[in-house]
Subunit: 377 residues, 2 copies
């Protein structure tokens, strides 16, 4: 279900403070004053803040609505259980959370994920955090939304290595899941389906958003939320044109762009065998085209790029400069941009670890075997 | 008792009954009454209850004290982070929770655990729940306590495949861990050590206890907490002599016993190559001797025995009858004992999933490689 997400939230109505950027300590009082004067909007923002307010948007405190998949508390709770449910994998070892670890910025900190049989997947695991705001899912956008995405790893032979039949058989064999699905999808004759599994996971994942980042607080008028270097980094980020691919609410995830539009990165960083979105569209213009990743929480989600070959955020910034902008960024510029990117780390989701219901004699047992054709990593 | 999951629902304000399924309102009132009358014990217990009160003990609501390792909130919180910390493994994929999943009764539901390189470990993963009450840790008791135990899997080549140096280097490279260790172990010149890592994990694990089981409520005088069949199962459990190995607070974990003292189980269930405690003591009398496992939450922790070859609790009960007691239990006896064992499922730990601190450039990177000598499962 695609997000019904309107980019035109009237931010000025949310209470922007109007003190100029670059002011110091004594501003906290005037911040407060500014906040109480929201309606009046007496003072103008700095040009940079005005620019930023036009380019970006804070992560809201509550998740967006999903088309055709209403987010209800019971569905979110079920989705959380399924997100942490290793019995959805053939081995009973791998859950969504294995590669999208909610304690680790929603990723696995691997170059490419390790899955069933210790096989390595082809691409770096994107973060689940704020992924509901992306225009599509996967690096190549081949899933329209999180519901469609959730079905992929369950079936991928190098990930969870299960299939829809096994997954549904598993869920139907566990009476408590039957009760949960019935509550989450009321009125359905057979609520325990592969589609509803994915819908529940989508509903939970939609709640995995990270409001409250220093940048978002700054954007809302709190000048003390960013340091001078971070503000300088933002200015550089904007003036260099990084926002062509990384803007909006999610600082990315809003479109498809060639990786190496000016200068091809090294083969290690951009492996010649992975043509990106070309595999989805079969259009020559889509060679090495990828969805721009969100930069929110980027300091938590190394290693970087679809290949996962760059561990340092500074290096990733430098690569972007040369590959996308044809610019050799100075160490100061790289440092400032990196410092700015660190302001995009928001409040991480608070999640109570779910207690999963017991299986029964009807539940398909775990199978850790790997087809002989598949070579372990 | 599988109703705990339903009890989460009222939080969600969806109008589910506030009493667990299967109980009526008046029963929960009598629960409360029974709890308030516990001290007085006004009415005389039945002979079976008196016997049970002599043999067993309820799981307390609060964890026990640890020798030389005071349990403090900050240490428990640190221990929780470390328990879920995959960067303590060489691959960054495996944490304590991988094989001792707190959503799955503290186990991994595998015959034997899968670890680094998809290698299979030699024995079934025992539950972490209530493990603080065992006289020692591991199936063969080779670790005196949870602190000593915690150091094992981190280093085992088929589990987390790391080593103390790498683990300490990892923890010291992450500034936030330095702060946590300093708070958890105040006054120490270098608090970030492998020993303190294990102490923090032990402190957290000590909190993973499961009070409130139907049996414990029955033991406290609430006759409604067990069904007639379950009480019959308890009677059979006691009269057949199961309590020789499974008694006390933890229904096991209190001593070492030969597996197959009357009749050797099949080679599949008791593999000839695993001599149990003999490997620890080198004493012939310890061949096939194992620590008796706790039976608390046993319905959640299939498959059974150190080999993990038995998936059905009924079959496990039958095997115990023949192997340990030389008795062929009738289907009714097996059914009643199994029904009784299901009353040992207590309230599962409520754990907020920890947000783990970011690594730095000094952190040793993940290494998923497997020595060529090691064969994947």
């Amino acid at each position: 279900m695609r997000t019904r997400y309107l980019a035109i939230i009237p931010m000025l109505a949310l209470g922007w403070a109007c003190t100029p950027a670059g002011e110091t300590a004594s501003e906290s009082e005037s911040d407060e004053a500014a906040q109480t004067e929201t309606v009046a909007q007496a003072e103008p923002s700095s040009p940079l803040m005005q620019r930023a307010q036009a380019l970006f948007e804070a992560v809201p405190d509550t998740p967006p609505e999903l088309e055709d998949n209403p987010i209800t508390p019971v569905k979110v709770e079920l989705g959380k259980m399924l997100y942490f449910e290793p019995r959805l994998s053939q081995s009973w070892l791998i859950s969504c959370n294995t590669c999208h670890n909610l304690g680790l910025g929603g990723v696995d900190l691997m170059d490419t994920s390790i899955g069933h049989g210790w096989q390595a997947g082809p691409r770096n695991a994107p973060t689940v955090l704020n992924s509901v705001y992306n225009l599509a899912q996967f690096w190549d956008g081949r899933a329209a939304d999180l519901e469609e995405q959730a079905k992929g790893p369950v079936q991928a032979s190098v990930e969870m290595a299960s299939d829809p039949e096994r997954a549904v058989q598993t869920l139907r064999s566990i009476p408590e899941y039957g009760e949960w699905f019935a509550k989450a999808f009321p009125g359905e004759a057979e609520p325990v389906t592969f589609d509803n599994m994915a819908r529940a996971i989508e509903a939970f994942e939609a709640t995995l958003i990270t409001p409250g980042s220093p940048f978002d607080r700054w954007l809302a008028g709190d000048n003390s939320a960013m340091t001078a270097v971070q503000v300088e980094g933002l200015e550089t980020f904007v003036s260099k044109g990084c926002t062509a691919c990384h803007a909006g609410l999610n600082f990315g995830g809003q479109g498809y762009f060639a990786f190496g539009v000016v200068q091809a990165p090294s083969d290690e960083i951009r492996p010649p065998g992975d043509l990106g979105r070309f595999a989805v569209t079969s259009t020559a213009a889509d060679e090495y085209v990828f969805k721009s990743p969100s930069l929110r929480n980027i300091e938590l989600t190394a290693p970087y790029f679809h290949s996962g070959k760059v561990w340092s955020l500074e290096e990733a910034v430098a690569v972007m400069g040369s590959a996308q902008l044809g610019a050799v960024l100075t160490p100061d510029e790289i440092g400032a941009i990196t410092a700015f990117l660190e302001t995009l780390t928001g409040n991480q989701p608070e999640v109570e670890y779910p207690i999963l219901p017991p299986h029964t004699a009807d539940t398909p047992l775990p199978d850790v075997s790997v087809p002989t054709a598949a070579a372990p990593h």
